[in-house]
């Protein structure tokens, strides 16, 4: 009973946190299925950090945070869609450098700006609890249309990712669908980074979809379960943080990781049991 009362009072106190968390979790967890399948986990952390750097730029130079994160994320997406032969370094090295550069530049930029420690922490690590109606609209306007486009064109995106060459021969415009996916991913990460922060966005893009992949065997089911798990762990994290007086984002991340570890443990034990029988 206490739990329900706490949930109701938390929703009344922080409606924007619940709304922003729900939208962000649903959208990022759906996109994350392809991030995990295409084995581009490193890209998602580089994009999240790039978005944070964009936010830092916007904060210091006083312009729209969404514009800042979209600009920097867009530049990274462009870099990633360049054919590999045009890049003289392996993609992993480029991504690692983008990640390091963006993370250190964010800290240096904000450290020189005269903002307080709490503002810096909120910006770099995100805090769902301080989400504003403006954040909600940013999330709705970037996340929901992106998700709709992804679900609408799931088939060509899947084929382009699954078997690029065969799909190209069949007439699928792989370069277009890959480019569109990265563009939408960049948009989603830009929109989510202000409320979520790099770590929570990365967690929703990687940990939650990886859990869903352990639980389902068909693509639609994986996407559905991933979205549901993302939303449920976000709600559970918000409530746990409220009741135990913990920071929200790390609580959601911790719960998501615990869930992944539990599911993989149960899967491993079940496989061993079946193999013995």
């Amino acid at each position: 009973m206490n739990l329900i009362q706490d949930a109701v009072s938390f929703t009344k106190l922080f409606p924007e946190a619940v709304l922003c968390g729900t939208v962000m979790a649903a959208v990022c967890s759906a996109f994350g299925v392809f991030v995990v399948l295409k084995r581009i986990v490193f890209i998602s952390i580089a994009l999240s950090e790039a978005a944070t750097f964009g936010l830092a730029l916007a904060l210091v130079f006083h312009f729209s945070p969404l514009a800042g994160s979209a600009l920097v994320t867009g530049a990274v997406v462009f870099l990633l869609t360049l054919p590999e032969k045009r890049q003289h370094l392996p993609k992993d090295v480029v991504l690692g450098t983008v990640f390091l550069l963006a993370s250190s530049a964010s800290v240096l930029l904000v450290a020189q700006s005269g903002f307080g420690l709490e503002e810096i922490k909120a910006m770099l690590y995100g805090d769902l609890i301080v989400s504003s109606p403006r954040d909600r609209w940013v999330l709705l306007l970037t996340g929901v249309p992106s998700l709709a486009v992804l679900l609408l064109f799931l088939r060509p995106v899947l084929y382009a990712f699954l078997d690029r060459e065969a799909a190209c021969v069949m007439g699928v415009r792989c370069w277009f669908w890959e480019g569109l996916f990265f563009f939408l991913l960049g948009l989603v990460v830009s929109g989510a980074s202000k409320s979520g922060g790099a770590l929570l966005v990365f967690c929703l893009l990687v940990v939650v979809p990886a859990t869903a992949l352990l639980l389902a065997r068909r693509l639609w089911a994986v996407i559905g379960i991933s979205m549901a798990l993302g939303v449920l762990t976000t709600w559970a994290g918000l409530l746990t943080a409220y009741r135990a007086d913990l920071p929200v984002n790390p609580t959601i991340i911790g719960l998501s990781c615990l869930l992944l570890m539990s599911v993989s443990l149960v899967r491993a034990m079940a496989s061993r049991f079946i193999a013995r029988r």
Binding site: L37, R155, V172
Partner: protein, 223 residues
Amino acid sequence: MNGSPVIQCRGVTVAYGRDIVLDRIDLTVPRGTLLPFVGPNGAGKTTLLKACLGLIPHQGGEIICDFGDHPPAYVPQQKQLDPIYPVSVRDLVCMGLNPELGCWGRLDRGQHARVEAVIVRFGLEPHQHKHFGELSGGLRQKTLLARAVVTQAEVLVLDEPTAGLDASSEAGLLKLIRTLHEEEGKTVLWVHHRMDQCAALALQVCRVDKRGVRLADVSEVAT
């Protein structure tokens, strides 16, 4: 089906950066042939076929392709598909209908029947709902061949389809390839390494080596 060649290459050059793989090669592939592409590793067999399919750009010359009413079907090596993807055998076979379905189309009764027929023909019935990643290498390659067949393409292009397979899977797959050629008159272009198997299946091979690209009788190359 007309008598025009499936592929005509005239003075084609393909390079990866500064590394020229195929240098001004000429080749005419007749329709309805079963043609293994043989030669040492790195000679450019796969590169040549991929250039003909438009997967790799060519820097010089001209490639004229006439694949018939349907786009050609390309069968990669099974290990090129990441087993992590949550797709079943049936899903993969249905992927072959993409040129007919586009982004949103759903399979009609006739297309369902075609998928069913191909699954039965390739002996994939007991595995059709299994996850692609759970299958053995031989079954995975059969699934990819089934996907190619369901397209109704006249031209099949196979990139080392028996690579990494055990002897019995290899023999089964080669038998299927031969049947597709002999019973349905499909043009099969296929990168392969084993000359003894080529000799058992084909009359001619396309020899790709540092001297260039040429069609040769199997007996000539085998000796």
